[in-house]
């Protein structure tokens, strides 16, 4: 079969099983768009800005586990995609980004819409390719998908000069079934010896903690994590990226850890004597002050990426491998082992933890006359029966969603954890809804974040992706304001906007349903009404208490046992305003 480069690309995507491609046309990709036009296998989703394309593909990838695919043109199309590529990179999300490039002969001449995409993306991709020969195109696409989806996943850019996709030049096409790269071997044999050492440590632990992260979600190891944890009866904490990998309603779950983690999770980490980190990377938002991180603990670390191990925190038992495989082996070895868990010590440990839990660190004023953002998330949880896909933007609303929506399944909580990209939530929700048209998809956002990719409301209408946008509108960039309150004596430097759009009208202008909610007792009915409109995108503009802060909080550079908790008399802002 002889095909042009453009046809080869489209056919390769079909052969790779790609369902959706998120993109935006332009000069350098016109041949590709012409080839897309003449087929039906791959559905193209036209976004309104290339950043939206990357986040939508990212949301699709996070919800399904399949790679997200993006198509952008050269120059500004490519640079607009960079934020989304970096977002996927930080959270290890499989993504393939096809970018157009100016024709090969003019590369390097500062041609119209030319940018060195391979150079620009190099630090924020798992790998990238510049295609120089049309006969290598199919193989390169295969390599891109292979690299993006295996090992520790990540985004891969394939930059294609326009002449490579020339419809007049046809070459034989065959999509490789598999590809071997001598320089890339993602599969590593698990060291049984290391796993044995880990089992010894675990069975002798008196104050153990299971600290699991996004790797468990990415590695489809939620079941193994649950079985492993329940076999041992140890407390489990999840990172922001790991939420849902362990059912939040289970009695062994002590909540999220880290900067806005629960009091019990952070205190337990601090006091623990054996910590097993599973698919987590000791991010600075998790560890707080490194010198005082888990001072009494021996640490076991399972990760597929050797470079994640001992990067910031010294580890006693490193185990390189897929978490699913390692946990299965661990379960087997524990069952075979003569030793048993130290029941008595564990009982004392749980008693201690229950005392920390009694502090009820997530309490808030439920009798407030103002809408408390936490209340909105709790109501969202109830209305969706805890079964929605929840995307979020970045800031306070993200933390409240993480704290109060008790995720019980993996891949339900979709947020930009590593890069912290405002504008992520709405396009990501569109990607999720395309993947799961029958599921409830909510985007929890704030009035600042939502404005960063608001144009994608138009995409949501065009492709009929009825999502529910819960805009926690506190008329502040809440997290910025919170930091300014705590560390800059409440000098609220540019953390509010003097003009905020009328979101209800804005949503309606985009062809959706807009609803404004400003009384606590309206929250539940509004949510019910919104989710009952299964064929409409609904924008709920919820006017919340603008002074509310996220608690608990480990301020930057402080240790796990040095948390700022809510004071009974309200927040300090309340006092200042009074």
């Amino acid at each position: 079969m002889e095909l042009s480069g453009a046809q080869i690309l489209v056919q390769s995507l079909q052969d790779e099983g790609v369902e959706y491609i998120f993109g935006y046309p332009g000069g350098a990709v016109l041949h590709l768009y012409d080839a897309l036009f003449q087929q039906e296998g791959v559905k193209h989703i036209l976004v309104r800005h290339e950043q939206g394309a990357t986040h939508a593909a990212d949301g699709y990838a996070r919800a399904t586990g399949k790679p997200g695919v993006v198509l952008v043109t050269s120059g500004p199309g490519a640079t607009n995609a960079v934020t989304g590529i970096a977002t996927a990179y930080m959270d290890s999300i499989p993504m393939v980004v096809i970018s157009g490039q100016v024709p090969s002969p003019v590369i390097g001449s500062d041609a119209f819409q030319e940018v060195d995409m391979v150079g620009i993306t190099r630090p924020c991709v798992k790998h990238n390719f510049l295609v120089k020969d049309v006969t290598k195109l199919a193989e390169t696409v295969k390599k891109a998908f292979y690299v993006a989806t295996t090992g520790r996943p990540g985004p891969v850019v394939v930059d294609i000069p326009k002449d490579i996709t020339d419809p007049k030049i046809k070459v034989p096409y065959k999509y490789p079934k598999k590809v071997v790269m001598r320089s890339y071997n993602p599969v590593t044999a698990v060291s049984k010896n290391q796993v044995k050492k880990a089992v010894e440590l675990l069975l002798n632990a008196k104050k153990p903690m299971i600290y699991s992260g996004g790797g468990v979600v990415l590695g489809e190891a939620s079941q193994e994590l649950t079985a492993f944890s329940q076999l041992l009866g140890f407390p489990v904490t999840n990172t922001l990226m790991g939420l849902g990998a362990y059912p939040a309603n289970d009695k062994q779950f002590v909540g999220m850890l880290g900067m806005h983690g629960t009091y019990e999770a952070n205190m337990a980490m601090h006091e623990s004597d054996v910590i097993i980190a599973i698919g987590a990377r000791f991010d600075d938002r998790v560890t707080g002050k490194l010198d005082e991180f888990c001072p009494y603990a021996k640490i076991i670390h399972i990760d597929i990426d050797p470079a994640s191990i001992a990067k910031t925190v010294k580890v006693d038992v490193p185990i390189v491998g897929e978490v699913k495989q390692v946990l299965a082996l661990m379960i087997e070895l524990i069952a075979e082992h003569k030793g048993k868990v130290n029941k008595k010590a564990l009982e004392a440990w749980w008693l201690q933890i229950s005392q920390w839990q009694a502090i009820d660190c997530l309490q808030y004023d439920r009798d407030s006359m103002l809408i408390k953002p936490q209340f909105v998330i709790e109501q969202l949880y109830e209305v969706t029966k805890g079964d929605a896909y929840v995307t979020s933007d970045v800031g306070q609303h993200q933390m409240w969603a993480a704290q109060y929506y008790r995720f019980s399944k993996p891949r339900r909580w979709i947020n930009s954890g590593g890069l912290g990209t405002m504008g992520f939530g709405l396009p990501a929700a569109i990607g999720v809804k395309l993947a799961f048209p029958d599921a409830h998809v909510a985007c929890v956002t704030g009035e600042a974040s939502i404005q960063m990719c608001i144009q994608e409301l138009s995409t949501a209408l065009q492709y009929k992706t009825p999502i529910k946008i819960i805009n926690l509108n506190n008329r502040y960039m809440g997290m910025v304001r919170q930091w300014q309150e705590f560390t800059y004596e409440s000098r609220y430097s540019h953390s509010y906007m003097d003009t905020i759009p009328e979101f209800v009208q804005l949503a309606e202008a985009y062809g959706h349903v807009g609803m404004r909610v400003d009384q606590p007792d309206e929250v539940r009915p509004a949510l019910e009404k919104a989710f009952a409109m299964t064929d409409r995108t609904v924008f709920l503009d919820v006017i919340t208490d603008r002074t509310e802060n996220v608690y608990p909080m480990i301020e930057a550079g402080k240790a796990h046992n040095d948390m700022k908790l809510r004071v009974a008399t309200g927040t300090s802002t309340d006092r200042e305003l009074a």
Binding site: V118, G119, R122, P123, K126, H127, L130, V147, M181, R182, S183, Y184, D305, P306, A307, A310, K311
Partner: protein, 163 residues
């Protein structure tokens, strides 16, 4: 501590910038970096000299291994190895100093590879330390320019870094 990391890398355009970019992005230092194709033209051999404590160098090797184009690497300092660097020094060689410079070059087993009525170019190979020592013996006022290749190295014995 000084480390000599020898890397076998795909001979693709941009491979060098992936390595150099990794070092600048993560704040590792590079003392020298040399690269050239091997007997197999699809592979390049790169020698990178860096310094840092054990943790830093551990991260450097892990991060390098993570680059998709890197096939294999070894820290030569971990075992017995041979290190060589090539240097060419152009020195002022007037009537008074010509003999002295020649004998210095002889002591360091350097070769004079270019002569004018005012200058010599001396070629000298050895460990980076030896080259430093040679430069130190020269009168700084006599040095016109110094060109060094950066260190390259190979491990002793019958094992080698290959695919």
């Amino acid at each position: 501590m000084r480390h000599i990391i020898s890397i076998l890398i795909e001979n693709e355009s941009g491979a060098l910038s992936r390595v150099a970019g990794l070092f600048s992005a993560r704040g590792y230092n590079i003392e020298s970096l040399t690269v050239a194709p091997t007997e197999d033209p699809s592979l390049s051999r790169m020698t990178l000299v860096t310094s840092g404590n054990a943790n830093v160098v551990d991260q450097i090797t892990k991060q390098l291994n993570k680059l998709i184009d890197v096939v294999k690497l070894v820290d030569l300092v971990e075992a017995s190895h041979i290190e060589r660097e090539l240097m060419m020094v152009k020195v002022k060689a007037d009537e008074q100093s010509r003999n002295e410079i020649r004998s210095l070059a002889d002591i360091f087993r350097g070769k004079i590879i270019d002569v004018t009525n005012k200058t010599y170019i001396i070629e000298i190979t050895g460990t980076s330390e030896k080259l430093d020592a040679f430069v130190a013996t020269l009168n700084p006022d006599h040095i016109v320019e110094v060109v060094r290749s950066g260190a390259t190295g190979i491990c002793r014995g019958d094992h080698g870094l290959h695919v």
